[in-house]
Each structure stands twice: as C-alpha cells, then as structure tokens.
C-alpha cells in the first residue's frame, strides 16, 4: 500500500500570515485538527504545520490574544514529509522515528499535495501495523 492511497488529498493550507482565527475556521470547515502552513498559495511549499493544540496552547496557556496572532506565531516550523509513492510501511517507520501523528505529502516540486494522519493509517492499515505505530509513538510518554 502506498501513501497516495490513503492520504487526504489537497488539504486545506494556510500561510504564515494567516490569522489564528482564520486557521481555526479552516479546521472547523474541514473537520480537522491540523493545517499545513505553506510558503504561499502558489508554490504550496510547506514551511510548517499548525494544530489545534498549538493554537490552544498559545491562546489559553500563554494568555495571548488570538486576534493578535498569526499561524507563523504558533506553528511548528519544521516539516517532515514524504512523497505520494512512498510505501505506507516506510511512512509508518518515519512517523515512529519522529514521534509524529501527521505527516505532509509533497509532490516532485516540493508542493504540499496531501497529508496523512495516524487516524488514516488506523482506518486502513492492518491491525498489526496500527498497533505497532501506536506502541512506538506512545513510548515517548513511557
């Protein structure tokens, strides 16, 4: 099985200049908790990722005004990515190694063309592989 078979294609993306409110609305509209942050809407080169946890942390834990913040203020700057034709098992190994729940998928030009989440793997992979990813990602809290 390849990444392209179960990834979410053409995910909603934002730019570092997008307001947190705009990003939160995108999460509502797309029923997701993670939005890739791209350089700009033309190139779609990923420069980071922002999750509902990132937003909540900045606004609630740090007491900052969400209206004053942008995606660039809350995102995780580094992006781990794979190509669409990457084998799912290889992708799982990478997610385990990096201790991440979601991974960006980029095309040959480096543009974001998809996103793969642990939930996608759990829904489509064998029970054994799902359990393996869960176990490995859980080790960080052991």
């Amino acid at each position: 099985m390849l990444v392209r078979e179960i990834m979410t294609k053409s995910p909603a993306c934002c730019t570092p200049e997008s307001s947190l409110q705009e990003v939160a609305r995108m999460m509502v509209d797309n029923d997701c908790g993670c939005i890739p942050v791209v350089e700009n809407s033309t190139s779609k080169i990923p420069v980071g990722v922002i999750t509902d946890r990132d937003i909540t942390c900045r606004v609630v834990a740090e007491g900052k005004n969400p209206l004053d913040l942008t995606a660039g203020d809350a995102m995780t700057a580094s992006v781990v990515a794979v190509m669409p034709d990457t084998a799912l098992e290889e992708c799982c190994n990478l997610m385990e190694e990096k201790q991440i729940r979601r991974i960006a998928v980029v095309d040959e030009k480096g543009a974001c063309c998809g996103i793969l989440a642990q939930a996608d793997i759990a829904g489509n992979a064998s029970d054994g592989k799902t359990a393996e990813v869960v176990q490995e990602v859980s080790r960080a809290t052991a």
Partner: protein, 148 residues
C-alpha cells in the same frame, strides 16, 4: 473485546463553572486532550466534554477571548456514551466523528473514557516539547526533511 478492556478509568474531570485556563491546565496535567465535564463532584454525571479542538473552535474560531470563559462555554454536549460491558465492535460505527466516548454505569455515573481508536497514549505520544516549549523563530523557516 469489551469497553471495559480499553477504558481509561481516571480521566480528567471538572464542573462547568471551572475557568477555562484551569480546564486547560487540568488537561495538560493529565497528559490528555480532553476533560469530562460532570454535574458535580457528588454526582459524577457527565454533561459534556472539553477538548483542545473545541477550545480552538469555540474561542479562537469565534474571535473570543478565553478570559472569563468557563468549561460551560466550550464543552461539547453532543457526546457518545457507552456501558462498561458493551462490545467494542458496536462502537466502531457510532464513534465516527467522535474521538472520545464517555463510559457510564447503569446509573449514568462516569466510569471513565474510551479513547480514540488510535489510542489515547498515542495521542499523547507527540512530544510536548516540540509544541509547547520550542522557541519559534520570528519568521517561518522553510526547513523540512524529505524522504523518498
């Protein structure tokens, strides 16, 4: 496999009047991404659930300030309940769209939560330091690893 086999019997709980900042702190202390809202400490009847996603939607998505808000302002009252003895396979369809299922006894009292099928521990497996403590650069850095 039954609900009781995977249940987390000690979820984070609060009453609806708890300030949102304290709800979030409770969420972090329990290393989870949800807090079950109960009627009272005496009557642990679940009335809602607060998640990071809900906080993000209800506060930031609506352009509101978290100051002065409580659990009642952001909790999701549309949650799925399960009995301890229920068969897990019965919920694989019901939990669609609901990440966490609240488990109750025959009196409706909270017994625990059934985490998302990917496992509550996996959800917490994301290294907290990457998200909370790392200093973000003033402008985004286009740095990413590509694996072929």
């Amino acid at each position: 496999m039954f609900v009781r086999d995977l249940i987390n019997e000690n979820p984070a709980v609060c009453t609806e009047d708890l300030p949102l900042e304290q709800v979030y702190k409770l969420m972090q202390e329990k290393s989870g991404d949800h807090v079950v809202v109960i009627e009272s400490n005496a009557h642990r009847i679940p009335i809602g659930i607060v998640t990071e996603h809900e906080i993000c939607m209800q506060v930031v998505g609506r352009g509101r300030s978290p100051r002065g808000m409580t659990a009642a302002n952001v909790m999701n009252t549309d949650f799925v309940k399960a009995d301890l003895g229920a068969d897990l396979s019965d919920f694989s369809q019901r939990r669609s769209g609901h990440r966490t299922i609240i488990v109750t006894d025959e009196n409706g009292a909270l017994q625990g939560v059934l985490p998302d099928r990917v496992s509550d521990r996996a959800e917490r497996g994301e290294i907290p330091e990457r998200l909370f403590k790392s200093a973000l650069p003033p402008s985004p850095v286009a740095a990413f690893d590509r694996i072929f």
